[in-house]
Symmetry: C2
Subunit: 284 residues, 2 copies
């Protein structure tokens, strides 16, 4: 029986810390403020927006919404981003992507000021993660993995950590972040031969393959810690499932995050914590 690493528990602790920091900032005359920039009315965006707004409200972070019609042209969108960059009352900007017009994606992404890039989408944030500087912010899901390890007192230093997946949103950044914390990292991907033989060498396995239940008992040995980043809708079982076959793997390993209730439960809190951190940095 593995320890189940509850993301909800991590989020609760994080929210408590954030609320205290918001109080401190307000005492210094700063009201941490999240701007949400949405183009169009995509259901996914609206759902994430509701979650982020609720979380922000619960810890005292203000939310400012900028909603543009789906057919907004690039110049108008970039002008709105510039306005948010220049607005000192806004500390972090969540911009939903992909944009309805995907051709605008690249320009919009890099128009955002890295110091307000709480979701780690700009080149500036990427350099921050790669070079280990305080420029910008890490992608929220990558940071959520780190928060879970921290909360449960799992220090990656000197540990072998194998990451399955090399995406720019999770695999690559989380690998760098774990390396900066002195883990010895290995990155597996679709071209890796015999991934199970490699994951078995690790102390910590982080699954971010993006393929539902593709990581089974075969990949693990006793003593390991498993962080499952996958969030997939299982049509057959009519429920959310991870990249890891939880039922098979849980009896083998020492600790594992569930899906749902694992990494995904922490990301919104991380997003809000980045707003608060961005606000703190304006005081430094």
């Amino acid at each position: 029986m593995a320890q189940v690493l509850s993301g909800k528990e991590v989020a609760a602790a994080l929210n408590e810390r954030i609320a205290a920091e918001v109080e401190e900032l307000k005492a210094q005359g700063v009201e941490p403020t999240l701007a949400i920039l949405r183009v169009g009315e995509r259901a996914d965006d609206l759902s994430y927006e509701r979650g982020a707004t609720k979380r922000a409200d619960s810890v005292g972070v203000a939310v400012k919404k900028v909603v543009l019609p789906e057919d907004t042209d690039r110049a108008t969108l970039l002008a709105e981003i510039e306005k948010l960059n220049a607005d000192d009352s806004v500390h972090g900007v969540l911009m939903f992507r992909p944009l309805p017009n995907r051709d605008d994606d690249e320009a919009a992404r890099n128009a955002l000021a890295p110091e307000k890039d709480i979701d780690g989408i700009t080149d500036g944030s990427m350099v921050g993660v790669f070079a280990n500087t305080k420029q910008g912010f890490a992608p929220c899901t990558a940071q959520a993995c780190i928060e879970i390890l921290d909360h449960y007192g799992i220090d990656p230093k000197g540990k072998r950590v194998t990451i399955i997946g090399r995406s720019l949103v999770i695999g690559r950044p989380v690998a760098m972040m774990l390396m900066h914390r002195h883990a010895t990292i290995t990155i597996c991907h679709t071209r890796t031969i015999d991934i199970p033989s490699i994951t078995k060498e690790a102390d910590i396995v982080l699954a971010a393959a993006g393929v539902m239940e593709s990581v089974d008992a075969n990949y693990f040995k006793p003593g390991q810690i498993v962080i499952d980043v996958g969030i997939n809708w299982n049509e057959e079982k009519q429920k959310l499932c991870g990249d890891v076959k939880f039922d098979e793997v849980e009896p083998i390993v020492d600790a594992i995050t569930p899906v749902p209730g694992g990494v995904g439960s922490v990301t919104t809190s991380v997003l809000i914590s980045h707003v608060v951190e961005a606000a703190k940095r304006t005081l430094a």
Copy 2:
């Protein structure tokens, strides 16, 4: 007896390719031009400058030198960089660092236009390496390792590659570049426990520890390929030595780069190839 992977041979082949590309560019009215920006008269800089100038001359790349006094202030330096950025006749800029005034280093580094950053020092180039885009250029030493593998027909795809060293100049970028070529990478560093047990799992070991002859027979098994990035002056032996104990390791492995005559022999050619590539990109 291992195959000795001669960097000189790689450089010769690269130079031939570059010279042909320069001819083509000239036929299209473009004269590939390298600008060397040097502040002060540091012996290391002068030595590298001589090598780069000689290599450029030999393949028909023009060199423009901008030499500033050691006590140049930041504003003057940044103005010179701006001038080189704006000068359409200059395709690549080699700026020697560290600068005499190290406080100027960060500002000067990022003042350079990524499209002329042939030594991969800007944030733009770092993002290019991390995200695998054509933005900027990879650090020359990292690219030199790739050139050696390419020249000898060693495809990293599906191979396990272990890198010793996580620096921003070599360990991290070369790891990303090898991963983009579908290697399964592991990065070891000073906090890694039992590095020899990890390097022994690899098909290719890239030593960039920066510590002379610190990687001995213990780290290897038959069949492996070794790329030694280290260049250290051995006071006792009065010669250049790598990070790998060549005499011990060469009899064990399948192939190994020597020091001198290995990776270090390829970097100047890579630098010049980047100038040519930068010139080609202006036509695209």
